[in-house]
Symmetry: C2
């Protein structure tokens, strides 16, 4: 299984603190050494940094730890290969364009005998069950809507597609279009919303403590979602099973 | 106008030497300071490093100069904004998927009154004439072929599409699907094919000399294409105008 990390905020925020702990899971505090990646939205633009090498040994992860890219939506993934070889084309997060926006997707879990027929709108490049799931999600959204629908309609459609795919196995995923972060869980994901009054937090995977009062303004709000809680002294909430969550502007939408 | 750099090889090769000189054009030896990017294919996978900051000041370009990613197809671009703001979504190269492969595109030039109607297969995310051209190229290829056709058919189709778009203005571009590098020129592009017997070369934009005999094996073959020659002591060939060139395995296909 893999490790997922997502962030959704109301103002562009860097993910350096969370990423510092998270990338230890790519070879130090956990065994997920089959590559890693991170995608940052900046307005409608999106840039990914992908590396088929373990995150703890990666020059690219050193860059990300030290280069504070400010973003309102981030998705990161550390891979433990199940389906698909360890190579770049199988490294999450995956990116495609739909309705003139980039969409980014990362998955934790295994989908068994999951070989959908694709219409040709989106086709997987690599050999993972995950990229097949992503292509199917986008194909169905494109079939159902000609343009970006309101969030509620989009959420209802995604809920149905996610349930359909989850019949094939473990399907924890994060998906973003740069505006919302969509989170779906069949086994394990937790989240926390940090907002005023801010406090301190200590990483679980590394001896690092941060005082958010020195970094955040009173109106800032940041949701962080991860496979396992990243800090030891905050209360993380379990993502409910098989219920799509939508984070927007750093808060959980009903 | 922008600066383009492309590389196509028969074995995975790092682009560090060429990139070292090229990225000086993003603020030192030339005025193209409106962001830059580079995309590397590794098998069918593709990773891009995009930065809306000038390449000479960029942490990301420091990484690329020092981190030898070996690739058979590379496209890089330094931007001088004409159409579209200086922001990530307008930073080349652009990437999309077609027929289960990634395609990467970068453009130098200006297309005037170029506002094609898109069918919905591909839509631009940013505001550049360049991304519109890329989306139109892919839309027409997808309309004409259900699967990847043989190179000659693909080349003939691309030649026609490129000529159609070039009616709107200056259209120098590089396009790759990870196998071939397609090059089209209406004003200025040069190339060189390096192969046995290898020799030395000195950069034009920086005081650096390399002895390829220390880096290349006898069977290696590398084509490098750039807006302006990158070295002072090699013979670069002008790309002919309005004739699509296809580079594969480091050589120019007839």
């Amino acid at each position: 299984m893999c490790q997922l990390l997502g962030m959704n905020c109301n103002v562009p925020t860097d993910i350096c603190f969370s990423f510092e702990g998270f990338c230890e899971r790519g070879g130090t505090t956990d065994e997920h050494k089959d590559g890693w990646g991170i995608a940052f939205f900046e307005d409608n633009g999106c840039r990914s940094f992908l590396d088929p090498n373990p995150s703890v040994e990666s020059s690219v992860s050193t860059l990300i730890r030290n280069y504070p890219i400010k973003s309102r939506n981030v998705i990161s993934h550390i891979r433990k290969a199940t389906y698909g070889e360890v190579k770049l084309e199988n490294t999450h997060p995956f990116t495609r364009e739909l309705w003139g926006r980039y969409w980014v997707f990362a998955h934790n879990g295994d989908l068994h005998d999951f070989q959908p027929d694709f219409s040709g709108a989106y086709e997987p490049v690599g050999g993972t069950d995950s990229e097949r799931a992503f292509c199917l999600i986008l194909e169905r959204l494109k079939r159902d809507f000609r343009k970006m629908p309101p969030s509620e309609l989009l959420g209802a459609s995604l809920q149905q597609i996610a349930e359909d795919i989850a019949k094939f196995g473990i399907f924890n995923f994060m998906l973003s279009n740069g505006e919302c972060l969509f989170v779906f869980c069949t086994t394990k994901l937790s989240y926390i919303v940090r907002q005023h009054p801010f406090s301190t937090a200590s990483l679980k995977d590394k001896d690092v403590t941060i005082d958010f009062r020195e970094h955040a303004a009173p109106g800032d709000r940041v949701a962080v979602i991860a496979t396992e809680p990243l800090t030891v002294d905050e209360t993380w909430i379990d993502v409910p099973q098989k219920k799509l969550l939508i984070f927007q502007d750093g808060e959980l939408m009903v």
